[in-house]
């Protein structure tokens, strides 16, 4: 990778909810123009990790750094103001609102003055449609269409285009392809590549190895709240990753070694390999 400072980095982050430890000693970083794939089975702590990065939860200990400086992300608003945008599985959009309206929700363009400020539907629609088309989704050409009428892939693309339009630098994609068919997923992966080309740092959460391999530069496998494997593109074959993910021999071996390590080290998990 490059020697630039990572845009977003987690240093030794732990998170527990009361007596339950959810994340142990997480160290990850992502640079501009790089896609970090976060792989892991259900319950591995992926969603808690996302919530730490998007300002929903606070780490119990450890630091979150942006551009090398420690930052606090007390609210989702604070995270998005710092340029961290999270797109959830279903796009986090409003099915019964028009494309233009949901694109600009919370930051509506207006015309007129004082108490007579009017929602500027035409401008909103034009900007929204252009932003989505710039990402290669040319089928969206009418900002008055309802979001509910879009396909799952188009909704994801709309949400990603929205995040980029409003100045996101770090894009967290939470299982964007999980609910999609093959064609729709390919659609979203193209959008991810486009975001990467534009210099965004992308954190791509998935459990589909094929999708991760297609876009990822850097991979981290999360098992039981700890980073069990951390490697770059080309360092592992697809079979090896699949094996890790699918809980085959390697997975079982890793788990046993983690548990052994934890037993020997007062419950602390091993550092990332």
């Amino acid at each position: 990778m490059s020697d630039k400072a990572p845009i977003l980095a987690l240093r030794g982050v732990n998170k527990s909810f009361g007596p339950i430890d959810v994340l142990h000693d997480i160290n990850i970083e992502v640079r501009a123009g790089e896609v970090l794939c976060l792989l892991g089975d259900n319950g591995a702590g992926k969603s808690t990790l996302i919530k730490l990065m998007s300002g929903v939860h606070q780490p119990t200990s450890g630091k979150i750094e942006m551009d090398g400086a420690v930052v606090a992300l007390p609210t989702p608003r604070a995270a998005s103001e710092k340029g961290i945008a999270t797109v959830h599985q279903f796009g986090g959009t409003f099915p019964l609102m028009s494309i233009g309206r949901s694109f600009f929700v919370g930051v509506e363009p207006t015309k007129g003055w004082g108490p007579f400020k009017v929602y500027d539907r035409k401008t909103a629609n034009e900007i929204a449609v252009k932003a989505v088309q710039d990402f290669g989704i040319t089928r969206i050409d009418d900002g008055d269409r309802l979001v509910g009428g879009l396909s799952g892939g188009e909704r994801q693309s709309l949400a990603i285009a929205r995040a980029v339009h409003f100045g996101a630098r770090v894009l967290i994609l939470d299982e964007p392809t999980a609910a999609l068919g093959v064609k729709q997923a390919a659609h979203v992966l193209r959008i991810v590549n486009e975001a990467k080309r534009r210099g965004l740092a992308v954190i791509f959460i998935t459990h589909q190895v094929m999708h991760a391999m297609a876009v990822g530069d850097h991979f981290a496998v999360l098992i039981r709240g700890a980073i069990a494997a951390d490697f770059k593109k080309g360092e592992r074959t697809r079979e090896e990753i699949t094996d890790l993910m699918a809980g085959g021999e390697t997975m079982a071996g890793l788990e046993a070694s983690i548990e052994g390590y934890m037993a020997d080290h007062a419950g602390h998990p091993p550092p990332a390999v």
């Binding site: 989702p76 608003r77 998005s80 999270t86 986090g92 959009t93 409003f94 099915p95 019964l96 609102m97 309206r101 949901s102 600009f104 929700v105 919370g106 930051v107 509506e108 207006t110 400020k117 009017v118 929602y119 539907r121 089928r139 050409d141 009418d142 008055d144 269409r145 309802l146 509910g148 009428g149 879009l150």
Partner: protein, 337 residues
């Protein structure tokens, strides 16, 4: 947004408007009761009774509708109406306060109850249905207790001054309540709020997905409190208008507004779970509901069975609205280049 300069008005475009179902329904019930009710229903007596009823329930339905679009309910309107009208009459009769101040007092009661509702709904996780039923009973009890304490009976007669009577309670041509004009004002203001101002977008977003709305930076708590205050204000306004029209305030009045306002809103195509609806739809729903309500009376049907018709109307309206909403979504999905 009623106009679409790019698409033009086509039949398909009309069918994709969510209000189309409400409009067809209104025409259908009007024709039905016009045939049943005869000349009186088609003439001024019928029109005035429909409009008088529409204006009162309609003013409340508009702001209850906004709340429902934002995903919340308000049952307390039923006790805000008498609380407001009794505040006005007790202030004017028992305390000798000038009309204008008594009226402001009545409206302030509505705003205050709305504020309490809004704070409770936005600060707790209790469903708004339960919270506003709670405040409804609380306000009902306070109104009854204080009225008896101050006035010694459950009703207060009031002779309003000429100005107050003219503004809030006169009968135009001895038949049409001036509240019909106020209804028009409320329609214009709330249309602007929901469909023209950027605030409307926040209301749709709040009802569509509260979490996403908050993440997008919308002050959901303040917006909720504001909408409840608007609904309290509207109910209080109807209370003022009633006491000025009938020169009397009754503790027991107002309960019918709770379900009637919700029915007008639902017949008008507002989605019960929030996120969709329109002012035009609510107005059409209100008219439909009042046409049926008054039509039963004019057509000489046994009023004992009238509620059956209203119940059926509600169910049919919800089913057709769902159908039209599905059509609108399907058309939206199908419109591809």
């Amino acid at each position: 947004m009623t106009t679409k300069p790019t698409a033009g008005i086509t039949l398909r475009h009309l069918a994709s408007r969510p209000e189309a179902g409400s409009f067809v329904g209104m025409i259908a019930v009007y024709v039905f009761f016009a045939l049943m009710g005869g000349a009186n229903f088609i003439g001024a007596p019928g029109i005035s009774s429909v409009l008088n009823m529409s204006s009162e329930v309609g003013i409340i339905a508009l702001s209850v509708g906004l709340l429902m679009i934002a995903g919340q309910l308000d049952m307390s309107v039923g006790s805000v109406v008498p609380a407001s009208s009794l505040t006005v009459s007790l202030l004017a009769v028992d305390f000798g306060v000038p009309d204008i101040l008594a009226i402001l007092g009545g409206l302030a009661v509505g705003l205050a109850i709305g504020f309490v509702n809004g704070v409770l709904v936005s600060r707790t996780r209790i469903p708004s249905l339960i919270i506003t039923i709670g405040t409804m009973f609380g306000v009902m009890g306070l109104t009854l207790g204080l009225t008896i304490l101050i006035h010694g009976s459950t009703g207060v007669f009031l002779v309003p001054g000429d100005a107050a009577k003219a503004v809030f309670g006169q009968l135009i041509r001895n038949m049409f309540q001036v509240s019909i004009l106020w209804w028009a004002v409320f329609v214009a203001v709330i249309y602007g709020l929901l469909h023209v101002s950027p605030l409307g977008n926040w209301i749709f977003a709040l009802g569509g997905d509260k979490e996403s709305a908050r993440n997008a930076g919308i002050p959901t708590g303040k917006l909720t409190i504001g909408l409840y205050m608007l609904s309290g204000f509207s109910a209080a306004f109807v209370g003022v208008s009633q006491v000025m029209t009938f020169n009397a305030a009754q503790v027991a009045a107002g309960q019918t507004f709770i379900f009637n306002s919700i029915m007008c809103v639902v017949i008008g195509g507002v989605l019960l779970t929030g996120g969709a609806g329109s002012v035009l739809g609510i107005v059409l729903g209100t008219l439909t509901f009042c046409i049926v309500n008054q039509g039963i009376f004019f057509s000489g049907l046994d009023p004992n069975y009238g509620s059956i018709i209203i119940g059926a109307l509600l169910l049919i309206a919800v089913m057709t609205n769902d159908k039209f909403r599905a059509m609108a979504l399907a058309l939206s999905a199908g419109r591809r280049s």
